[in-house]
Subunit: 191 residues, 2 copies
Amino acid sequence: MPMTPARTGRHDREHIVGIALDLLDRYGLPDLTMRRLATELEVQPSALYWHFDSKQDLLAAVSDRILARIPAAEPGADLLVAAHAVRDALLSYRDGAEVVLSSAALRPGRSRAEDALRAALPTALPDAGLAATAVLQFILGHTTLVQQRMHGESHGAADSAVDPADGEDAAVFAAGIALLSRGAGLTPMLR
Amino acid sequence: MPMTPARTGRHDREHIVGIALDLLDRYGLPDLTMRRLATELEVQPSALYWHFDSKQDLLAAVSDRILARIPAAEPGADLLVAAHAVRDALLSYRDGAEVVLSSAALRPGRSRAEDALRAALPTALPDAGLAATAVLQFILGHTTLVQQRMHGESHGAADSAVDPADGEDAAVFAAGIALLSRGAGLTPMLR
DNA sequence: ACCTGAACACCGTTCAAGT
DNA sequence: ACCTGAACACCGTTCAAGT
Protein backbone atom coordinates (compact mmCIF):
# COMPACT_ATOMS: atom_id res chain seq x y z
CA MET A 1 0.00 0.00 0.00
CA PRO A 2 1.55 3.29 -1.13
CA MET A 3 1.93 6.14 1.35
CA THR A 4 0.83 8.67 -1.26
CA PRO A 5 -2.37 8.46 -3.29
CA ALA A 6 -2.01 7.45 -6.92
CA ARG A 7 -1.31 10.37 -9.22
CA THR A 8 -0.47 10.33 -12.87
CA GLY A 9 0.93 13.88 -12.97
CA ARG A 10 3.88 15.13 -10.99
CA HIS A 11 2.02 17.84 -9.09
CA ASP A 12 -1.38 18.58 -7.67
CA ARG A 13 -2.84 21.80 -6.25
CA GLU A 14 -2.00 20.89 -2.66
CA HIS A 15 1.64 20.28 -3.44
CA ILE A 16 2.02 23.40 -5.57
CA VAL A 17 0.51 25.59 -2.84
CA GLY A 18 3.03 24.17 -0.39
CA ILE A 19 5.94 25.14 -2.63
CA ALA A 20 4.36 28.54 -3.20
CA LEU A 21 4.22 29.10 0.57
CA ASP A 22 7.87 28.16 0.75
CA LEU A 23 8.82 30.69 -1.89
CA LEU A 24 6.60 33.33 -0.25
CA ASP A 25 8.33 32.91 3.08
CA ARG A 26 11.81 32.90 1.60
CA TYR A 27 11.56 35.72 -0.95
CA GLY A 28 8.38 37.71 -0.22
CA LEU A 29 5.24 38.39 -2.24
CA PRO A 30 6.81 40.54 -4.99
CA ASP A 31 9.16 37.66 -5.86
CA LEU A 32 6.48 34.98 -5.76
CA THR A 33 5.98 34.80 -9.52
CA MET A 34 4.42 32.09 -11.61
CA ARG A 35 7.69 31.67 -13.46
CA ARG A 36 9.80 31.25 -10.33
CA LEU A 37 7.24 28.84 -8.94
CA ALA A 38 7.38 26.84 -12.17
CA THR A 39 11.18 26.78 -12.05
CA GLU A 40 11.07 25.54 -8.45
CA LEU A 41 8.71 22.75 -9.55
CA GLU A 42 10.94 21.96 -12.54
CA VAL A 43 8.08 22.58 -14.91
CA GLN A 44 7.17 25.07 -17.63
CA PRO A 45 5.22 28.16 -16.47
CA SER A 46 2.28 27.17 -18.64
CA ALA A 47 1.92 23.91 -16.69
CA LEU A 48 0.66 25.89 -13.69
CA TYR A 49 -2.39 26.93 -15.68
CA TRP A 50 -3.64 23.41 -15.83
CA HIS A 51 -3.89 23.44 -12.00
CA PHE A 52 -4.92 27.06 -11.44
CA ASP A 53 -7.02 29.45 -13.49
CA SER A 54 -4.76 32.38 -12.74
CA LYS A 55 -2.25 33.76 -10.28
CA GLN A 56 -5.19 35.17 -8.32
CA ASP A 57 -6.58 31.67 -8.03
CA LEU A 58 -3.22 30.40 -6.77
CA LEU A 59 -2.94 33.22 -4.23
CA ALA A 60 -6.44 32.51 -2.95
CA ALA A 61 -5.39 28.92 -2.26
CA VAL A 62 -2.22 30.18 -0.56
CA SER A 63 -4.36 32.51 1.53
CA ASP A 64 -6.59 29.63 2.60
CA ARG A 65 -3.62 27.65 3.77
CA ILE A 66 -2.34 30.56 5.85
CA LEU A 67 -5.73 31.00 7.49
CA ALA A 68 -5.95 27.25 8.14
CA ARG A 69 -3.27 27.74 10.78
CA ILE A 70 -5.78 29.53 12.99
CA PRO A 71 -6.96 27.19 15.77
CA ALA A 72 -10.65 26.25 15.69
CA ALA A 73 -13.11 28.70 17.19
CA GLU A 74 -13.30 28.34 20.96
CA PRO A 75 -16.51 29.75 22.47
CA GLY A 76 -15.87 31.96 25.46
CA ALA A 77 -12.17 32.40 24.66
CA ASP A 78 -10.44 35.65 25.50
CA LEU A 79 -10.61 38.14 22.62
CA LEU A 80 -6.96 39.07 23.04
CA VAL A 81 -6.02 35.40 22.76
CA ALA A 82 -8.18 34.89 19.68
CA ALA A 83 -6.80 38.06 18.07
CA HIS A 84 -3.26 36.92 18.75
CA ALA A 85 -4.01 33.57 17.14
CA VAL A 86 -5.22 35.27 13.95
CA ARG A 87 -2.27 37.66 13.91
CA ASP A 88 0.23 34.86 14.51
CA ALA A 89 -1.17 32.89 11.58
CA LEU A 90 -0.63 35.94 9.33
CA LEU A 91 2.86 36.48 10.73
CA SER A 92 3.85 32.85 10.21
CA TYR A 93 4.69 33.53 6.56
CA ARG A 94 6.45 36.56 5.13
CA ASP A 95 3.90 38.99 3.67
CA GLY A 96 1.14 36.68 4.93
CA ALA A 97 -1.21 39.51 5.85
CA GLU A 98 -0.89 41.15 2.45
CA VAL A 99 -1.62 37.88 0.69
CA VAL A 100 -4.78 37.38 2.73
CA LEU A 101 -5.81 41.02 2.41
CA SER A 102 -5.38 40.88 -1.36
CA SER A 103 -7.33 37.69 -1.90
CA ALA A 104 -9.92 37.72 0.89
CA ALA A 105 -12.10 40.28 -0.83
CA LEU A 106 -13.54 37.88 -3.36
CA ARG A 107 -14.58 35.30 -0.77
CA PRO A 108 -18.29 35.47 -0.09
CA GLY A 109 -19.04 33.74 3.23
CA ARG A 110 -17.59 33.84 6.67
CA SER A 111 -13.95 32.95 7.12
CA ARG A 112 -12.30 30.78 9.73
CA ALA A 113 -10.68 33.90 11.15
CA GLU A 114 -14.01 35.59 11.69
CA ASP A 115 -15.42 32.50 13.37
CA ALA A 116 -12.56 32.39 15.87
CA LEU A 117 -13.01 36.05 16.72
CA ARG A 118 -16.81 35.90 16.98
CA ALA A 119 -16.51 33.01 19.43
CA ALA A 120 -14.51 35.30 21.69
CA LEU A 121 -17.11 38.06 21.66
CA PRO A 122 -19.94 38.10 24.22
CA THR A 123 -23.06 36.34 22.99
CA ALA A 124 -25.04 39.25 24.36
CA LEU A 125 -23.41 41.64 21.87
CA PRO A 126 -26.09 42.87 19.44
CA ASP A 127 -24.09 42.63 16.19
CA ALA A 128 -21.38 40.11 16.97
CA GLY A 129 -20.98 39.23 13.30
CA LEU A 130 -20.26 42.81 12.29
CA ALA A 131 -17.97 43.25 15.28
CA ALA A 132 -15.98 40.12 14.40
CA THR A 133 -15.54 41.40 10.85
CA ALA A 134 -14.33 44.75 12.16
CA VAL A 135 -11.83 43.12 14.51
CA LEU A 136 -10.49 41.03 11.63
CA GLN A 137 -10.10 44.14 9.47
CA PHE A 138 -8.09 45.82 12.22
CA ILE A 139 -5.81 42.79 12.50
CA LEU A 140 -5.32 42.66 8.73
CA GLY A 141 -4.54 46.38 8.47
CA HIS A 142 -2.21 46.29 11.44
CA THR A 143 -0.30 43.17 10.41
CA THR A 144 0.05 44.28 6.79
CA LEU A 145 1.71 47.49 7.94
CA VAL A 146 3.96 45.65 10.39
CA GLN A 147 5.11 43.14 7.80
CA GLN A 148 5.74 45.86 5.26
CA ARG A 149 7.97 47.68 7.68
CA MET A 150 9.84 44.41 8.30
CA HIS A 151 10.46 44.11 4.58
CA GLY A 152 11.48 47.74 4.19
CA GLU A 153 13.88 47.66 7.12
CA SER A 154 15.71 44.53 5.99
CA HIS A 155 17.25 46.12 2.90
CA GLY A 156 17.13 49.74 4.04
CA ALA A 157 19.89 51.91 5.39
CA ALA A 158 20.61 51.65 9.09
CA ASP A 159 18.46 54.41 10.51
CA SER A 160 19.57 56.37 13.53
CA ALA A 161 15.99 57.60 14.11
CA VAL A 162 14.08 56.17 17.05
CA ASP A 163 12.33 53.05 15.82
CA PRO A 164 11.80 50.33 18.45
CA ALA A 165 9.54 48.48 16.04
CA ASP A 166 8.95 45.39 18.12
CA GLY A 167 7.67 47.03 21.27
CA GLU A 168 5.81 49.81 19.49
CA ASP A 169 3.92 47.46 17.18
CA ALA A 170 2.98 45.16 20.03
CA ALA A 171 1.75 48.16 22.01
CA VAL A 172 -0.42 49.39 19.12
CA PHE A 173 -1.90 45.93 18.65
CA ALA A 174 -2.65 45.58 22.37
CA ALA A 175 -4.16 49.08 22.43
CA GLY A 176 -6.40 48.32 19.47
CA ILE A 177 -7.66 45.05 20.89
CA ALA A 178 -8.11 46.67 24.31
CA LEU A 179 -10.32 49.38 22.79
CA LEU A 180 -12.34 46.83 20.84
CA SER A 181 -12.67 44.57 23.89
CA ARG A 182 -13.92 47.35 26.10
CA GLY A 183 -16.24 48.55 23.37
CA ALA A 184 -17.73 45.06 23.21
CA GLY A 185 -18.36 45.10 26.95
CA LEU A 186 -15.38 42.91 27.88
CA THR A 187 -12.75 43.96 30.45
CA PRO A 188 -14.92 46.97 31.22
CA MET A 189 -12.37 49.10 33.08
CA LEU A 190 -8.62 49.08 33.34
CA ARG A 191 -8.47 51.99 35.77
CA MET B 1 3.71 88.02 -14.64
CA PRO B 2 3.22 84.42 -15.68
CA MET B 3 0.56 82.30 -14.00
CA THR B 4 2.92 79.33 -13.79
CA PRO B 5 6.42 79.42 -12.32
CA ALA B 6 9.26 79.26 -14.80
CA ARG B 7 10.26 75.70 -15.69
CA THR B 8 12.71 74.55 -18.24
CA GLY B 9 11.44 70.96 -18.38
CA ARG B 10 7.96 69.90 -19.36
CA HIS B 11 7.05 68.21 -16.12
CA ASP B 12 7.71 68.43 -12.41
CA ARG B 13 6.91 66.03 -9.58
CA GLU B 14 3.68 67.80 -8.66
CA HIS B 15 2.32 67.59 -12.17
CA ILE B 16 3.35 63.96 -12.66
CA VAL B 17 1.68 62.93 -9.40
CA GLY B 18 -1.52 64.60 -10.60
CA ILE B 19 -1.54 62.59 -13.81
CA ALA B 20 -0.70 59.43 -11.84
CA LEU B 21 -3.74 60.03 -9.61
CA ASP B 22 -5.82 60.41 -12.75
CA LEU B 23 -4.62 57.08 -14.13
CA LEU B 24 -5.10 55.43 -10.74
CA ASP B 25 -8.69 56.54 -10.53
CA ARG B 26 -9.48 55.57 -14.11
CA TYR B 27 -7.72 52.20 -14.39
CA GLY B 28 -6.81 51.06 -10.88
CA LEU B 29 -3.48 50.30 -9.19
CA PRO B 30 -2.50 47.22 -11.25
CA ASP B 31 -2.70 49.32 -14.42
CA LEU B 32 -0.84 52.29 -13.01
CA THR B 33 2.51 51.45 -14.58
CA MET B 34 5.51 53.64 -15.17
CA ARG B 35 5.21 52.98 -18.90
CA ARG B 36 1.55 53.97 -19.09
CA LEU B 37 2.25 57.05 -17.04
CA ALA B 38 5.08 57.97 -19.38
CA THR B 39 2.84 57.47 -22.40
CA GLU B 40 0.19 59.71 -20.83
CA LEU B 41 2.84 62.39 -20.30
CA GLU B 42 4.12 61.91 -23.88
CA VAL B 43 7.57 61.07 -22.61
CA GLN B 44 9.89 58.08 -22.54
CA PRO B 45 9.59 55.79 -19.46
CA SER B 46 13.16 56.56 -18.49
CA ALA B 47 12.31 60.25 -18.16
CA LEU B 48 10.28 59.47 -15.02
CA TYR B 49 13.46 58.38 -13.29
CA TRP B 50 14.83 61.85 -13.37
CA HIS B 51 11.90 62.98 -11.20
CA PHE B 52 11.48 59.87 -9.03
CA ASP B 53 13.95 57.36 -7.69
CA SER B 54 11.61 54.44 -8.26
CA LYS B 55 7.97 53.47 -8.62
CA GLN B 56 7.84 53.19 -4.83
CA ASP B 57 8.96 56.79 -4.58
CA LEU B 58 6.22 57.82 -7.02
CA LEU B 59 3.57 55.86 -5.11
CA ALA B 60 4.67 57.45 -1.84
CA ALA B 61 4.06 60.87 -3.39
CA VAL B 62 0.67 59.69 -4.69
CA SER B 63 -0.15 58.42 -1.21
CA ASP B 64 0.71 61.80 0.30
CA ARG B 65 -1.64 63.56 -2.08
CA ILE B 66 -4.48 61.22 -1.19
CA LEU B 67 -3.94 61.80 2.52
CA ALA B 68 -3.76 65.55 1.95
CA ARG B 69 -7.50 65.45 1.27
CA ILE B 70 -8.11 64.80 4.96
CA PRO B 71 -9.32 67.98 6.67
CA ALA B 72 -7.02 69.42 9.32
CA ALA B 73 -7.22 67.91 12.80
CA GLU B 74 -10.10 69.38 14.79
CA PRO B 75 -9.71 68.99 18.56
CA GLY B 76 -12.84 67.68 20.22
CA ALA B 77 -14.35 66.45 16.96
CA ASP B 78 -16.54 63.36 16.94
CA LEU B 79 -14.50 60.21 16.32
CA LEU B 80 -17.05 58.88 13.84
CA VAL B 81 -16.81 62.11 11.88
CA ALA B 82 -13.01 62.04 11.90
CA ALA B 83 -12.97 58.37 10.88
CA HIS B 84 -15.36 59.09 8.03
CA ALA B 85 -13.12 61.91 6.85
CA VAL B 86 -10.13 59.56 6.67
CA ARG B 87 -12.14 56.82 4.97
CA ASP B 88 -13.60 59.27 2.44
CA ALA B 89 -10.13 60.49 1.50
CA LEU B 90 -9.10 56.88 0.80
CA LEU B 91 -12.29 56.24 -1.16
CA SER B 92 -11.89 59.36 -3.27
CA TYR B 93 -9.53 57.52 -5.63
CA ARG B 94 -9.84 53.99 -6.90
CA ASP B 95 -7.59 51.64 -4.87
CA GLY B 96 -6.68 54.63 -2.69
CA ALA B 97 -6.52 52.58 0.51
CA GLU B 98 -4.20 50.00 -1.02
CA VAL B 99 -1.86 52.68 -2.29
CA VAL B 100 -1.64 54.24 1.17
CA LEU B 101 -1.33 50.88 2.89
CA SER B 102 1.47 49.85 0.56
CA SER B 103 3.50 53.02 0.94
CA ALA B 104 2.69 54.19 4.45
CA ALA B 105 4.92 51.63 6.10
CA LEU B 106 8.14 53.36 5.28
CA ARG B 107 7.09 56.73 6.68
CA PRO B 108 8.60 57.32 10.08
CA GLY B 109 6.63 60.02 11.89
CA ARG B 110 3.03 60.75 12.51
CA SER B 111 0.71 61.13 9.54
CA ARG B 112 -1.98 63.67 8.90
CA ALA B 113 -4.54 60.89 9.25
CA GLU B 114 -3.33 59.97 12.71
CA ASP B 115 -3.41 63.60 13.81
CA ALA B 116 -7.04 63.98 12.76
CA LEU B 117 -8.02 60.82 14.63
CA ARG B 118 -6.07 61.65 17.77
CA ALA B 119 -7.76 65.03 17.96
CA ALA B 120 -11.10 63.22 18.15
CA LEU B 121 -10.01 61.01 21.05
CA PRO B 122 -10.48 62.13 24.64
CA THR B 123 -7.44 63.94 26.04
CA ALA B 124 -7.89 61.86 29.19
CA LEU B 125 -7.16 58.64 27.29
CA PRO B 126 -3.87 57.19 28.55
CA ASP B 127 -2.35 56.18 25.21
CA ALA B 128 -4.11 58.38 22.70
CA GLY B 129 -1.24 58.06 20.24
CA LEU B 130 -1.39 54.29 20.17
CA ALA B 131 -5.17 54.40 19.98
CA ALA B 132 -5.11 56.78 17.00
CA THR B 133 -2.70 54.47 15.19
CA ALA B 134 -4.96 51.49 15.87
CA VAL B 135 -8.04 53.34 14.58
CA LEU B 136 -6.14 54.27 11.41
CA GLN B 137 -5.10 50.65 10.90
CA PHE B 138 -8.72 49.53 11.17
CA ILE B 139 -9.77 52.13 8.60
CA LEU B 140 -6.98 51.08 6.22
CA GLY B 141 -7.80 47.38 6.52
CA HIS B 142 -11.52 47.97 6.15
CA THR B 143 -11.28 50.31 3.18
CA THR B 144 -8.74 48.17 1.35
CA LEU B 145 -11.11 45.20 1.53
CA VAL B 146 -14.09 47.29 0.44
CA GLN B 147 -12.26 48.75 -2.55
CA GLN B 148 -10.97 45.35 -3.57
CA ARG B 149 -14.48 43.98 -3.59
CA MET B 150 -15.55 46.96 -5.73
CA HIS B 151 -12.86 46.07 -8.23
CA GLY B 152 -13.70 42.38 -8.21
CA GLU B 153 -17.40 42.94 -8.66
CA SER B 154 -17.05 45.28 -11.62
CA HIS B 155 -15.70 42.63 -13.98
CA GLY B 156 -17.10 39.57 -12.27
CA ALA B 157 -20.09 37.44 -13.14
CA ALA B 158 -23.44 38.63 -11.86
CA ASP B 159 -23.76 36.73 -8.61
CA SER B 160 -27.13 35.57 -7.38
CA ALA B 161 -25.75 35.16 -3.84
CA VAL B 162 -26.83 37.66 -1.21
CA ASP B 163 -24.39 40.52 -1.35
CA PRO B 164 -25.78 43.92 -0.35
CA ALA B 165 -22.27 45.32 -0.31
CA ASP B 166 -23.14 48.97 0.31
CA GLY B 167 -25.18 48.56 3.43
CA GLU B 168 -23.11 45.72 4.83
CA ASP B 169 -19.81 47.56 4.49
CA ALA B 170 -21.21 50.71 6.05
CA ALA B 171 -22.58 48.65 8.94
CA VAL B 172 -19.21 46.98 9.55
CA PHE B 173 -17.46 50.34 9.49
CA ALA B 174 -19.96 51.86 11.90
CA ALA B 175 -19.72 48.81 14.17
CA GLY B 176 -15.92 49.02 14.24
CA ILE B 177 -15.86 52.72 15.04
CA ALA B 178 -18.62 52.25 17.64
CA LEU B 179 -16.55 49.59 19.42
CA LEU B 180 -13.42 51.75 19.31
CA SER B 181 -15.36 54.82 20.50
CA ARG B 182 -16.86 53.02 23.45
CA GLY B 183 -13.52 51.45 24.26
CA ALA B 184 -12.01 54.91 24.39
CA GLY B 185 -14.67 56.07 26.80
CA LEU B 186 -16.79 57.95 24.26
CA THR B 187 -20.54 57.31 23.74
CA PRO B 188 -20.39 54.99 26.76
CA MET B 189 -23.66 53.15 26.24
CA LEU B 190 -26.01 52.67 23.33
CA ARG B 191 -28.56 50.64 25.27
C1' DA C 1 18.42 70.48 -16.14
C1' DC C 2 15.66 67.41 -18.43
C1' DC C 3 14.88 63.96 -21.74
C1' DT C 4 15.76 60.19 -25.62
C1' DG C 5 17.17 55.58 -27.28
C1' DA C 6 18.34 51.33 -26.49
C1' DA C 7 18.97 47.70 -23.85
C1' DC C 8 18.54 44.17 -19.72
C1' DA C 9 16.16 41.06 -17.14
C1' DC C 10 12.10 40.03 -16.27
C1' DC C 11 6.43 39.41 -16.01
C1' DG C 12 1.19 36.72 -16.61
C1' DT C 13 -1.28 34.24 -19.88
C1' DT C 14 -2.76 31.57 -24.10
C1' DC C 15 -2.77 27.73 -27.01
C1' DA C 16 -1.58 24.26 -30.20
C1' DA C 17 0.82 20.20 -29.74
C1' DG C 18 2.83 16.30 -27.47
C1' DT C 19 2.57 11.94 -24.23
C1' DA D 1 -4.82 13.92 -17.58
C1' DC D 2 -0.91 16.56 -17.45
C1' DC D 3 2.75 18.97 -19.53
C1' DT D 4 5.96 21.25 -23.35
C1' DG D 5 7.21 24.90 -26.69
C1' DA D 6 6.58 28.96 -28.44
C1' DA D 7 4.65 33.05 -28.66
C1' DC D 8 2.09 37.66 -27.22
C1' DA D 9 1.88 41.73 -24.88
C1' DC D 10 3.64 43.58 -21.45
C1' DC D 11 6.75 45.11 -16.94
C1' DG D 12 10.65 48.32 -13.80
C1' DT D 13 15.09 50.09 -14.22
C1' DT D 14 19.75 51.60 -15.97
C1' DC D 15 22.72 54.35 -18.58
C1' DA D 16 25.13 56.52 -22.19
C1' DA D 17 24.04 60.12 -25.08
C1' DG D 18 21.64 64.13 -26.67
C1' DT D 19 19.87 69.24 -26.09
